[in-house]
């Protein structure tokens, strides 16, 4: 065995591109995701009725018809939830009470209002259509800057304002730096709302056990487990009475799956109320409308600049939009990056104002990059502008301001302790190996041909493993001093069973990042085994596994946290096995080596014993163990880096443990006619310390890059000015496909971390921070060459936005429809439909008039009308079923006729409310007598919100026309006329071309 051992000794798996142990299960379709978890007989399935309004008071909820539907076990409202649970704890002391269902008010489109549990999902969804909710629609506050002004509608009246927090920070002497600057360069940037939208949505299985007063939950929650106490407090139980289990397999997370927690609580309560287990699977529309989004941010950023390109100070004003509620751990994106607000630059003077504002949008959350994309978009757009203003090469401005070589560990102005790196060298290597000079030639050649070509640069510092004290800075110093927070605990356990096989459990809760493989590599190296020998199980159970508040998968936590804990646990196991083996081998335990499944004396490798025998003795013959040693071989490694301290009295905080470095450059070309951006070449240099598995590390870069391309060019959650949500499908929220994402050239440098025992840093978020702004800078470069001002360049850079910059705003075609009356109260609509038309009815105007004003005949004319109740004179309430494309639903319609000029004209106004959305509209009907009947002409304008508006933007116009047409067809039938006069070939052609109804 001596030779084998010698060979094996050299075999180390950490640092190798080891193929993933996860893959066989996933590739064969055998992985059990949350929807595949076993449910016991009698499990109920939940569906959620959500608000179609951005802001409305709930006047009444009638659940009686829904409760009587087939299969329905319980219908739960906000009042039911309020009776048995408490609002979710938030970071700030603000009267912003959120329960698992809306209470009193709804505050965003998608806000959960009623939960139905039934014997299957189909029945539960059926029943939603039979819930009648009466709303008083309130004006919504949508724009984050307008929300800060006085006199705006309040998302939370008790707060007295929409701004939930304002904090100012000063480091160094920024006033002096700005006073002494040669020039001040200023920019206002806007970063949009977006999300990486995991393909698997939320899934919750919850069961309440009354005997133990225990909630047992299996869900694809991803942590951080700081939100575990938030859930248990809401449920009014001790932490140990909320058992949270996560399965081994989860279909993507990207931070968003922390925001499952309100639904965990909701399903727990539903199970308690219904007395049976409850399962809920989120659908795509729910996910896009109501799961979570990265906060949109407006940043005003200024640099104090010297004529040689040196930046001596930054001044930030950051305004983050957290939507309708601050959910834990919000406002993380505003504070997670705090220590590193100066980015990769050696800037000593810094002033920051952070503002948190609430609006009528979906609550914000952590999303991959977690505050970094917003912050670096502002910094790197500004540095680009500095270069343009002083007429210097952007690369030169960057070089001039970088944290220099040889100063690590470096304390950044706001407190980040940059552990290691060589930023100038990384940039030089990238410039050379990535071929920047060649790219510049390509740009120049393209421009000579009159093409729109630009080069962009960006550099960022990528933080990893968050300090649990990072949010403390939002509190005043005296308040946080009473309850200081800091650190970041990680846990992992290595077990060797009686037959000597090794298993690992850990607290990383992965969603596809290959943690099983990397942990197997680490433990295999410690114990002289192969990764195939190590069984890693990363399903998680708070009742059984070691966990802490930092547990979970977020903020690039793995490589410097859980991986370290696992190596510590494996080292403890190794030490114990060495102590057991030492007497038999007659060698000091510290001198023993592990390789090839053996424990041996490196001086005499034949003096060896099998690892499984040594481990077995701890189980089979514990009496023979060294004096004082405990039986079994099971060790837990826990660690929290000492560098992660609470904020100090200067408000400095080391917000993360490790800091990697990223430098990107790219060349893009813009299609001059369409404004479409094509990425020609993209180079990304990473110094992420030691790469534990280069195959997986590159996979993280490719993945972050692809999403970042989406953020740069396509992805945005769009809201109407009335708060209606417009991007409820993957046909509206555009996600890049294989055709839009090029392959970036990845370069690596490895400066081992000095604070993380494995030397590794994070790598999975860097491109989310660097790539959007790198592409934006390239687009700016291309446009500036044409003399376009790019100060307002906002993401996503979709063709219409860029075309507007190239060609100016598009003007509507001159010819076309007759002018329509604008909608009186609502100038800015959610989704506004307008139309007009005319039809011929073979009956005199008086008869048409009677039909319109007669209750019974009106009921027969309204398409899909089940029932019509008279509320007052010419005022009706109708129960109708309407289909728009594939979406079909039951609505309550209110119709009122006034401005009656008999038998000539009338105004119709009304609303339509149902689980699929709501609409308000008005129209005018004019009756003109003709020889054989009446010419009926009409116009209408309708504003839609809710599901129909979110999913159906493109088909609504056609559907509205079809409905109006149906109405008049039925009117013709009702007044006893025959078919309409034959259509002329001309009008048929226009109709088929979609030009006329």
């Amino acid at each position: 065995m001596a030779d084998d051992a010698a060979v094996a000794l050299k075999e180390r798996y950490v640092g190798q591109p080891v193929e993933r142990v996860e893959d066989a299960t996933l590739l064969t379709g055998k992985a059990q995701f949350s929807d595949h978890l076993p449910t016991r007989a009698g499990t109920l399935h939940a569906a959620i009725l959500r608000s179609p309004h951005a802001h409305a008071r709930i006047l009444s909820i009638d659940t009686s018809k829904a409760a009587a539907r087939p299969g329905v076990a319980a219908v739960i409202t906000g009042e039911d939830v309020r009776a048995i649970s408490d609002p979710f704890l938030i970071v700030l002391r603000q009267p912003m009470h959120q329960w698992a269902l809306a209470v009193d008010k709804v505050r965003y489109v998608g806000d959960p209002v009623v939960c139905v549990v039934a014997d299957d999902r189909y029945h539960a969804e059926d029943a939603l259509a039979f819930i009648d909710v009466e709303y008083e629609v309130l004006p919504a506050v949508v724009d984050q800057e307008a929300a800060c002004e006085d006199g705006m509608p309040l998302v939370h009246e008790a707060m007295g304002a929409n701004v939930a927090s304002v904090r100012d920070f000063t480091y160094g002497d920024p006033d002096k730096a700005f006073a002494e600057a040669d020039r001040i360069v200023k920019l206002r940037t806007y970063y949009p709302r977006n999300s990486q939208t995991p393909l698997e949505g939320f899934v919750v299985n919850a069961e309440y056990h009354s005997g133990e007063n225990l909630y047992d939950v299996a869900s694809n929650y991803q942590g951080p487990f700081t939100s575990h106490p938030v859930m248990s407090l809401a449920l009014r139980v001790r932490n140990s009475q909320l058992r949270m289990r996560t399965p081994q397999w989860s279909g993507g997370g990207f931070g968003i799956k922390v925001q499952i927690f309100p639904y965990v609580v909701l399903m727990c309560l539903a199970s308690k109320i219904a007395g049976r287990p409850v399962k809920w699977v989120e659908d795509r529309l729910e996910h896009l409308a109501a799961a979570a989004a990265a906060p949109n941010r407006v940043t005003t950023i200024e640099a104090a600049v010297k004529n040689d390109g040196t930046v001596t100070a930054f001044r930030f004003d950051q305004l983050d939009d957290y939507g309708a509620f601050l959910r834990a751990p919000m406002p993380g994106p505003l504070y997670r990056m705090h220590g590193i607000l100066t980015g990769a630059y050696d800037i000593k003077n810094l002033a920051v104002t952070n503002r948190v504002v609430m609006t009528n949008k979906c609550p914000s959350s952590m999303v991959r990059g977690f505050g970094g994309p917003q912050m670096y978009f502002a910094i790197e757009r500004l540095m680009h502008k500095v270069a343009v203003e002083i007429g210097m090469d952007p690369l030169e401005v960057m070089r001039r301001n970088l944290v220099p070589e040889g100063v690590f560990p470096y304390r950044a102005a706001a407190g980040a302790l940059l552990d290691s790196g060589n930023y100038p060298e990384a940039i030089e290597r990238a410039v050379n190996e990535g071929g920047l000079a060649e790219l510049v030639r390509r740009r120049d050649a393209a421009r000579k041909e009159g093409r729109l070509y630009g080069i962009g640069l960006a550099t960022i510092v990528e933080p990893a493993q968050s300090n649990m004290g990072y949010l403390s800075n939002i509190l005043p110093r005296d308040e946080r001093a009473r309850n200081p927070k800091g650190g970041a605990v990680a846990n992992a356990t290595v077990n060797v069973d009686p037959l000597g096989t090794v298993s690992v459990t850990a607290d990383s809760i992965p969603q596809g990042q290959g943690h099983m493989t990397v942990l197997a590599q680490i433990v295999a190296d410690e114990l002289g085994l192969t990764p195939d020998d190590i069984k890693v199980s990363l399903d998680f159970d708070t009742a059984k596994d070691a966990w802490s508040i930092a547990t979970g998968n977020y903020s690039s936590r793995f490589s410097s946290a859980t991986a370290v804990a696992a190596s510590k646990a494996a080292r403890k196991v190794r030490d114990k096995l060495a102590r057991i083996a030492a007497p038999g081998l007659n060698v000091e335990p510290e001198k023993l080596e592990f390789a090839g499944g053996k424990i041996f004396d490196p001086v005499n490798p034949d003096n060896a014993v099998n690892l499984y025998r040594v481990a077995g003795s701890a189980h089979w013959t514990p009496g023979n163990l060294p004096e004082g040693m405990e039986p079994c071989v099971r060790e837990t490694g826990s660690w929290s880096p000492p560098e992660l301290e609470s904020p100090n009295e200067l408000d400095q905080i080391n917000t993360s443990l490790t800091y990697g470095f990223v430098f990107d450059f790219c060349g893009i070309e813009i299609d001059r006619d369409t404004g479409m951006v094509r990425i020609d070449k993209y180079v990304t240099m990473h110094d992420s310390g030691v790469l534990l598995n280069p195959l997986i590390a590159n996979g993280q870069v490719y993945g972050a890059f692809a999403w970042a391309v989406g953020c740069a060019l396509f992805e945005e959650f769009v809201y109407g000015d009335d708060g209606s949500f417009k991007t409820g499908t993957f046909a509206d929220y555009l996600v890049p496909t294989s055709f839009e994402v090029p392959e970036p050239q990845i370069l690596h440098m490895e400066s081992p971390s000095t604070v993380s025992p494995l030397g590794a840093k994070g790598i999975g978020e860097g491109n989310c921070m660097s790539t959007p702004v790198c592409i934006a800078n390239a687009v700016a470069d291309a446009l500036e060459a044409e003399g376009v001002n790019t100060d307002d360049l906002a993401l996503p850079l979709h063709p219409s936005r860029i075309a507007k910059l190239i060609h100016g705003a598009e003007t509507a075609p001159a010819a076309g429809r007759p002018e329509l009356r604008p909608h009186p109260e609502k100038p800015a609509a959610g989704h506004m439909l307008t139309g007009d038309g005319e039809t011929f009815v073979p009956a005199p105007p008086e008869e048409v008039w009677r039909t319109l004003l007669d209750e019974d005949s009106l009921a027969a004319v309204i398409p899909g009308c089940h029932r019509l109740d008279r509320l007052g004179e010419n005022d009706y309430r109708a129960d109708v079923s309407v289909g728009v494309g594939p979406v079909r639903g039951r609505f309550i319609a209110k119709v009122k006729l006034d401005e009656l000029v008999e038998p000539e004209s009338a105004k119709l106004s009304g609303s339509l409310t149902g689980p699929l959305g709501a609409s308000q509209g008005e129209g005018h009907v004019r009756l003109t007598p003709e020889a054989n009947g009446t010419r009926v002409s009409y116009d209408y304008s309708i504003v839609l919100t809710g599901t129909v508006a979110s999913v159906g933007g493109r088909m609504l116009e056609g559907a509205a026309r079809a409905l109006v047409r149906q109405f008049f067809n039925r009117l013709v039938a009702q007044v006893g006329g025959g078919p309409e006069p034959a259509e002329s070939w001309w009008s048929r052609l226009l109709r088929e071309l979609g030009i006329r109804k």
């Binding site: 893959d23 064969t28 279909g251 294989s738």
Partner: protein, 169 residues
């Protein structure tokens, strides 16, 4: 076609991955729900319920189909193939699956089974696509983790070294 009645569970028989299976479905039950919750396979993943993401892709009588846009009763009597059919009976990965593993063509793996089924059908028609052609085909699927690089490399490697096109040369 037999008479179907609302609210009635009709028997639905499939040849699923070469084996006869039978279950019951109301006319409105989706094939994706039927495969997952009635038959009990775990490869048909639902990512969007509107046919955009492709995670639920299966082959119905050899044709690439979205199970989330197909009613179970529509597939009655058909041969349905899913990712479970790709490895051999001992669980040995197919050459295509091995290429995905080698090139890190998957991360969370939620979109992967559907993508494998599309590729399987596509390569029967076009055993040696160019990278552009392959990317065009793959654009019928959404993957949020990988950036598509690994899966493109995997398929090109497979076509070069293992697929029908490789053997033909």
């Amino acid at each position: 076609m037999p008479q179907l009645n609302r609210d009635v569970r009709h028997p639905v028989s499939l040849t699923l991955n070469g084996k006869k299976v039978q279950g019951h479905a109301e006319p409105r039950m989706l094939l994706s729900d039927f495969l997952t919750h009635e038959i009990g396979i775990t490869s048909c993943h639902v990512g969007c319920e509107h046919g955009v993401c492709g995670a639920c892709t299966v082959l119905i009588d050899g044709n690439v189909s979205r199970a989330c846009l197909t009613f179970a009763v529509q597939a009655d009597g058909a041969a349905v193939d899913t990712a479970e059919s790709l490895a051999d009976d001992e669980g040995e990965l197919s050459a295509l699956q091995q290429a995905f593993k080698k090139h890190h063509g998957l991360q969370c793996g939620y979109c992967t089974p559907g993508i494998l089924m599309s590729i399987t059908a596509y390569l029967k028609e076009k055993p040696k696509p160019t990278e552009d052609e392959l990317r065009d085909m793959l654009s019928g699927h959404l993957c949020r983790c990988t950036g598509y690089v690994g899966m493109v490399r995997a398929v090109l490697d497979y076509c070069e070294n293992s697929g029908a096109g490789a053997k033909a040369e």
